[in-house]
Each structure stands twice: as structure tokens, then as C-alpha cells.
């Protein structure tokens, strides 16, 4: 994977971080510029960026906002692969309308395509289809594709991991390779969301806290 961001929801009643821990925290009132600085300029193409965070930390919302930005600022298309049912066209409309008004709404909605893939094999088929379409160049939508969002990637990987079967890790590696090839071969920016338990960077290095 390329870069990793961890989103930590800031709720008024949650305890403040301890002084010797670093949470890559994302206050809801932080403007986008702050995040761009954190990422050293923004999200890069030809890279897979992972957004991890607790439940309701804003991962899907971040993805939706990014979709709107890419369509309007970069004038490119977006494919959103939904693996967990979290995509809301209503919310995308709300974001688009509030930022760019009603006149741009239809253009934004036409520039975002949504694919549903609820298990890892469907996801692989979907990625293969996208690759085919980009290679064959018959569908003009895919000629200007710049952002590929997979929300969320853990939803399709967890069912294969753990238990007695050992093939889960192989599938996970396969999937990550496919995403990286897509990113690298076609200069796409690939954004994958995942769940993460709290991680803290302490004196002992990065620790996984459940």
C-alpha cells in the first residue's frame, strides 16, 4: 500500500489523548488544507492510499467529498466500489449541491459510477472489468477515470481471514496486487477504506490497541 491515514473521531465526551501518544487525529472542523499538508501535498495517483478508522469516523464521507473534488477540480471521472452498502447517493448530492450548486449537480452525478461487490471474488471480477474497459478504450467514461474508491476493503477480506482456512491471506495479497497494478498501470489514484482498532505510537513503537 502507499500511504496510510488513520481517522480518529473526535467526540466531545471522549478522553483526550495522552501526552506521549500520537493519534493521527482528524478534527471534524479541520479544513481540507490541513489534511493535504499531512499527506505531503494530497493524494497521489499511481498509488494506493488506505484510510483506516473506527466506526463513524468519517471514512465514507471523506471518500464522497473526494469524489466531488476530483470531478469538479480535476475534471476527471470516479468509480466507487461499494462493498458494504455504505454509499448514499443522497449524501453525495447533498455534498455536491452545497459545494457547487444545483447547476453542476447532474454533471457530478454522471461522472461518478457505482459498482456493488459484496464478496472478494465479485470485487476481483469488477476490478478485472475495469481493467479491460481501460485497455480496450471502448467506453469513454473510463478514458478519463482518475479515482477508484473501494469502500470498504475489510468487509470483503475479513470473511476469508482467520478460522481454519489458510487461503485468506493469499486472496488478500492478490487483491492488493490487483489494486496496485491498476494504480500503477493506468495512473489512477486508488483509495481503500478499512476498519482499524486504535493504534498508538508510543516509545515502544506502533502498538495495536483493541
Amino acid at each position: 500500500m502507499g500511504q496510510s491515514i488513520v481517522l480518529h473521531p473526535w467526540r466531545g465526551d471522549s478522553p483526550t489523548p495522552h501526552s506521549n501518544d500520537h493519534f493521527l487525529s482528524f478534527l471534524k472542523s479541520t479544513p481540507k488544507e490541513g489534511l493535504n499538508e499531512l499527506l505531503d501535498g494530497g493524494l497521489y495517483t499511481s498509488e494506493v492510499t488506505e484510510i483506516a478508522g473506527e466506526i463513524s469516523s468519517g471514512k465514507t464521507q471523506f471518500c464522497l467529498s473526494l469524489c466531488v473534488s476530483v470531478v469538479m477540480k480535476a475534471r476527471q471521472n470516479v468509480v466507487f466500489i461499494d462493498t458494504c452498502g455504505g454509499f448514499s447517493a443522497d449524501r453525495l448530492t447533498e455534498i455536491a449541491e452545497s459545494l457547487y450548486g444545483e447547476e453542476n449537480l447532474e454533471h457530478i452525478l454522471q461522472s461518478v459510477k457505482v459498482i456493488e461487490a459484496f464478496d472478494i471474488f465479485h470485487l476481483m471480477t469488477a476490478l478485472q472489468t475495469i481493467k479491460d474497459k481501460m485497455v480496450k478504450k471502448v467506453d469513454p467514461f473510463y478514458d478519463t477515470l482518475k479515482l477508484l474508491v473501494v469502500d470498504s476493503i475489510t468487509a470483503v477480506i475479513y470473511p476469508s481471514l482467520g478460522g481454519q482456512q489458510m487461503d485468506g491471506h493469499g486472496l488478500m495479497v492478490q487483491l492488493s496486487l490487483k489494486l496496485r497494478h491498476l494504480a500503477a498501470d493506468f495512473s489512477l489514484c486508488v483509495l481503500a477504506t478499512g476498519g482499524k482498532t486504535k493504534i498508538g505510537i508510543t516509545e515502544k513503537g506502533i502498538e495495536d490497541w483493541t
Binding site: 478522553p15 495522552h18 473506527e54 466506526i55 463513524s56 465514507t60 468509480v79 466507487f80 462493498t83 458494504c84 452498502g85 455504505g86 454509499f87 448514499s88 447517493a89 443522497d90 449524501r91 453525495l92 448530492t93 447533498e94 447532474e106 457530478i108 452525478l109 454522471q110 461518478v112 459510477k113 457505482v114 459498482i115 456493488e116 459484496f118 464478496d119 471474488f121 465479485h122 476481483m124 471480477t125 469488477a126 478485472q128 481493467k131 479491460d132 485497455v135 475489510t154 468487509a155 470483503v156 475479513y158 470473511p159 476469508s160 481471514l161 482467520g162 478460522g163 481454519q164 482456512q165 489458510m166 487461503d167 493469499g170 486472496l171 492478490q174 490487483k178 476498519g195 490497541w209 483493541t210
Partner: protein, 359 residues
Amino acid sequence: MQSQRELCSFPIAPSHKSKLTSAGFLITEDLKHLKPSELSKETGIGLEECLEILKLVCSESVDGSKRNEAPKPAVSALERLKEEQSLPPIITFSEGLDNMLGGGVPLCKITEFCGAPGVGKTQMCMQIAVDVQIPSQFGGLQGEAVYIDTEGSFIVERLVDIAKATVDHCNEMARLEGFKEGEITVESVLSGVHFYRCHDYVELLATVHLLPEFIKKHPKIKVVLVDSVAFHFRHDFDDLSLRTRLLTTMAQSFIKLATEFKIAIVLTNQMTTKFSPGEDSRLVPALGESWGHASTIRVILYWEGQKRWAWLYKSPSKKESRVPYQITMGGVRDIVTFPADNSNDQSDDEPSSKRQKVS
């Protein structure tokens, strides 16, 4: 270019995959012009399984028939918006709750209600099982419900109470608006709830597995309720990674069910105590973080003082908010407050001890 796809990215059994790899078949191209008998000879896999593998892998060239497992094609967000707007939500009878959820319990999504014992999760489920049957002239879905009970907390008499209140309400509305009364009766409501009782997690997984067939035979079903999903997964599970695997597989089955048949899935979850180093312990929904990502919408029900509150914790399209509600004889309702009024409130379920006037 499908011919360049690796064979291990297909849903083939791991034992067959290793046999294919050791015989030298790595990508789809390698299997292209092979007959099942030839494949069987080369790899040592049984003839029938070879036929299945070839059908799976080369399905595009073979007689153009569509695989059942093929994913839906990409649709633009505009079409998704039209789809979303054409699906009405299931109303609860609490306006506050409906507004918080954006109209009610939405179709094609998984809604999870978490709460401590006694806060009203089962009542909420029973209310929704009745509400989904409200006739369309009153703004309802006129559908049926599947109720999966894992705890044994389902009591038919209670469902009758809630059904009676809803039927009376509908008949009242029919009288006022000039519609025919009697469209919905207590008997029709009870017969519209398909009840399953699951005694362990295996029964639950089996029931969920068989639901697609059941729903195809009963196309009026518009909601599947599971009360509660946590019960069987919290006890006697030594292998936690197996539990995560089973829960996430079940979650994906649910979301497939929801989107394929355009139904709502409602789950209830219990609460557990979380200890963090250096912090106070607090109540969080059970089954861990990995399960938390499974539901699309999460509502946490809790007590504050004498009132029950619903807290929208996770939602793809609505803001985080909290509303109070109450459980009455007739089911889930809003809390009716009268501004600076000295007359008594009519909530039947409030404790009988002296309480402050709420304004």
C-alpha cells in the same frame, strides 16, 4: 483480456486450486480450449468438478449464458439517486425517530439497534414488524416481515398489543380520509410475520443462508429482523478469529440480501463493557470493532434519567443526533411534552414515582 486473469482469483476450492497450479494452469488462457476430461486427467480433479471449474472460468465464451454470481454492472450516481428516492422507508410510530433516520428504517440497508437490556430493542423490532404491513394508502409498504428470534424474548401477546394499536390507528385514519376500513386487521398482521426461532449460531447461519430462497417464494417480504444477533456469538466461542470470520460473512450475506431483494434488514445487538488503560470503563456495542463496520446504520438506545433515548451513531447520510422516545402499550412512540402545562402527561410506562414536569 479476461483470459489474462489469474485462476486463484476465482471462487474455486483451495484443494482444486493447488492441483491446478501444480499442473501448470495459472491463468484463464491456459484453460481455454480444454475439455473437462482432459483437465481431469492432467490435474487429478474429479470430472464433475472440472466441468464446474471450466463453466466458472470460461463463462463468457460458453453459450453466452449469464452466471448467477456475476456482479451487477456499474451504474451512475444519478441512477442510484433515482433508485434511492423511489424506495420508501419503513416508518416507526415515533416521528422523532423517523426524522432522525431520514424518514424511517431504510430499505436496502442494514440498521442496527444496540442497547442494554430493557431499553426496548425487542419492542422496536416488533413495532417495525407491524409497521411494514401498513397498507400503501396510509404511506406504508404493505409488506411482510421475517422475524428471527435468537433469545426467546418474542412474546406473541405483546405483538398482538402493538398490532391492535396500529390497526386502530389505521382504521381511524381511514375513517377521517374516507378510505375503506378493515384493510388491515390483527389477524392479517400476525399472519404477515414469518417467525423463526434459532437456538444456536449454526441454526442462525443456516436460516440466513436459506433466506434468499424463502424470500423468492414470498415476494411481499420487506424486512428481516434478527433479535438479537449477538446472543449466540458471545458465549462459548473459543476461537475469536472464527467468530470474526462468521460474523463478517453473515454481514455480507445480509447486505447482499438487502440490495438484491430491496428489503430492510434490522438487527439488534447487546452492549458490553470496554476497559481501556487509564480510563473509566464504558458501555460499547458487543461483538467488537469488525462487526461495527457491518451495519450501515447504527442506533444506540440508552437510558438517561427516566427517559429512553435513541442516538444515531453511524449513518451514511444523516447527521449524528439523539431523540427521546418511550415504550407504551401500543409500542414505540414519541415522548409527548406539553409546554408549561400543569395537566398530567399521558405516558403509561413512566415509573409511578414522583417525577419532574418536563417542558
